[in-house]
């Protein structure tokens, strides 16, 4: 720190050293310090985005999962539960063993930044709900704010993705990944990539940024509904530990 270097070795009560410098040199000095400060602040901003936001979001998302699971165990909600959820309502929990043994994240309604920057995973409101024929499409950050889909590119054929709602557990099997332009909204269609076509299967579409640390393109991972486990039967064996842990 410059202030330490310049301030050491001065006898207490000495006249301010600045008075020995000309006004121009003093002004240049202040400018220099301001520029250095601006540089440090920008670096801090990057640190905040890449690191600090994860701390905040991590706590929020953990609490949201716990809260959602409590709600689920209180029994299935009074029908009809199919109505459009309020933006920011956590209605599901996503488990992806490939993303980590303890990966359990809340899925909230809406893909506004107020959802993605706090709860993490947001559901595109125009798309279908878990288990419904059509496309259950969700978005999340690849970096920052909990970076729920940081490892989305690591999904391999055979990987299973679990969606828990009040009704039970939907098991999706990962099928394919593609990189598309941010405007390619056809991937959100009931049959991904074929807008207007009548869906015959239930798919899960996860979207995030690509390449990492940019927003140039979008990475799309599609999985297909394989099975459904009613809540009464308990979680599928593969995620039993994760569910128990998330519930605390």
């Amino acid at each position: 720190m410059p202030k330490v270097a310049q301030g050491t070795g001065m006898p207490a009560g000495a006249p301010p050293r600045g008075s020995r410098r000309g006004p121009l040199s003093a002004a240049v000095g202040v400018f220099g310090e301001l520029f250095l400060t601006a540089g440090v602040v920008l670096l801090l901003f990057v640190a905040w985005q890449l690191w600090w936001t994860n701390l905040d979001a991590g706590r929020t998302q953990e609490a949201a999962v716990e809260h959602a699971l409590e709600g689920f165990s209180a029994g299935p909600p009074a029908e009809p539960a199919e109505g459009p959820a309020l933006e920011g309502d956590t209605f599901a929990v996503l488990y992806v063993p490939r993303f980590g043994e303890d990966f359990a994240r809340p899925v909230a309604a809406g893909v506004g930044l107020d959802v993605l920057n706090t709860l993490g995973i947001g559901h595109y409101p125009e798309t279908q709900m878990p288990g419904e024929k059509g496309n259950f499409a969700v978005a999340a950050h690849r970096q920052t704010y909990g970076e729920a889909f940081r490892d989305i590119h690591k999904l391999r054929e055979g990987d299973l993705v679990y969606v828990q709602t009040a009704k039970g557990f939907y098991t999706y099997a990962y099928r394919s990944t593609q990189i598309v332009h941010p405007s390619s909204s056809e991937v959100l269609a009931p049959v991904p990539g074929r807008p207007g076509k009548e869906p015959s299967e239930a798919v899960l579409t996860m979207t995030s940024c690509d390449p990492p640390f940019t927003t140039k393109m979008r990475i799309i991972a599609v999985s297909v509904l394989e099975s459904f486990t009613p809540a009464a039967d308990g979680p599928p064996v593969a995620i039993a530990d994760t569910v128990a842990q998330a519930r605390k």
Partner: protein
């Protein structure tokens, strides 16, 4: 500027160093908790969604 602030801190050298560290820490905390979250709304590179207009 920083030298001027440092000279005007009270106490012996060790105390002034301590105060400086605390001040720097405080500034960083204020930036992280209040300034950056606010400034973030002007940053264009946080979008991870697909265009919202759905073809029907």
């Amino acid at each position: 500027m920083y030298a001027w602030i440092f000279r005007h801190l009270p106490g012996p050298l060790w105390l002034r160093l301590l105060i400086s560290v605390l001040l720097v820490g405080l500034v960083i905390l204020v930036l992280m908790e209040y300034v950056f979250p606010w400034a973030n709304q002007f940053v264009p590179w946080t979008d991870s969604t697909i265009g919202m207009v759905l073809p029907r």
